[in-house]
Symmetry: C2
Subunit: 189 residues, 2 copies
């Protein structure tokens, strides 16, 4: 029990990684465990794309940044606006120079796709943490539009990206960001 | 590590419960741990409603059944159609006669509400499992429309239900349903 709570607390969003590759075998093991997540009517709609190539990850970051800046220019009130300065910084990589990126994707036809893939992503993050690896769900990393890049990563046209998860060996594990007290709206008992 | 994998595998969707209440203190502890989940921009949009009252859970089930049948009648091609026989069975309780129901809800304004609340639900299910409790995410349990019931459970009008989670002491822990082999669409390395 104590160990479990330790695990819950150990899982932190990691944005600083050692310059060390993650063996593909370990990524595959983590993906296998991610598939133990529950899904609506046991549909298991999650599909995985593994990008273990820093150059390609950088190209994906550049495309995401371009698309996000273009979106912000058209929608100056968008919440993404707060990232504008970072996005315009040529040195900023939305994937934080992680050695590996895993996309959890699925068919646009699946009704519960976001929830099902989020549960698989949660298993992924725990499974990685248990192996001493750090992860971060990078919301900005969904904005890939370049057809050549989408083809290169093997993204089917009728699928969408739900969870872009970076993974690597953490340089350090930051303190947890502050958590609000649980907000329980009502107890009927 | 072995223990962790055990935990991942132990978390099963439970639909048969002992006739034994879950102490409110334990539910609160589980909710506290659920709030350790990550969320977009650390927004923590999750809110909780605890219903530790079998009569009210039954009334919520009856309302959900009524609304789902009405939906199926209007949309005979809906995927929910496959539950029609169960929904028309007066003895069927969508919450499987669980002693306790926790709704994870949040403001309709929050962009990433489904993903954020799904991550909190994932933590909830692990935290319960670690304590020997069983849970199930009951998708059918979102269909509550009766204004009196919504008021009774303290549901704010601008919120929506993301995760209806039943929780109780499992009568037995079923074998895991079959899992497909992980479907990795592409590896770039």
């Amino acid at each position: 029990m104590a160990e479990f709570i330790e695990l819950l607390k150990k899982r932190r969003s990691i944005r600083h990684f050692e310059n060390k590759e993650v063996p593909l075998k370990i990524i595959r093991d983590i993906i296998k465990e991610s598939c133990l997540a529950p899904s609506a009517a046991n549909g298991q709609p999650w599909r995985f794309i593994i990008i273990n190539d820093r150059d390609l990850i950088k190209r994906l970051s550049d495309d995401a940044k371009k698309n996000l800046i273009s979106y912000i220019e058209k929608n100056p009130d968008a919440p993404t606006k707060k990232y504008e300065a970072a996005l315009r910084n040529p040195d900023f990589n939305v994937f934080y120079n992680a050695p590996c990126l895993v996309y959890i994707v699925g068919s646009k036809q699946v009704r519960n796709l976001y929830v099902d893939c989020a549960l698989a992503a949660c298993y992924f993050m725990f499974s990685a943490s248990e192996r001493g690896l750090g992860t971060c769900w990078v919301g900005l990393g969904t904005s890939i539009q370049d057809p050549n890049l989408l083809k290169l990563i093997g993204m089917p046209e009728d699928h969408k990206i739900v969870a872009p998860l970076i993974i690597g060996y953490p340089n350090s594990i930051p303190s947890p960001p502050e958590r609000n007290e649980p907000q329980i709206l009502k107890i009927v008992s």
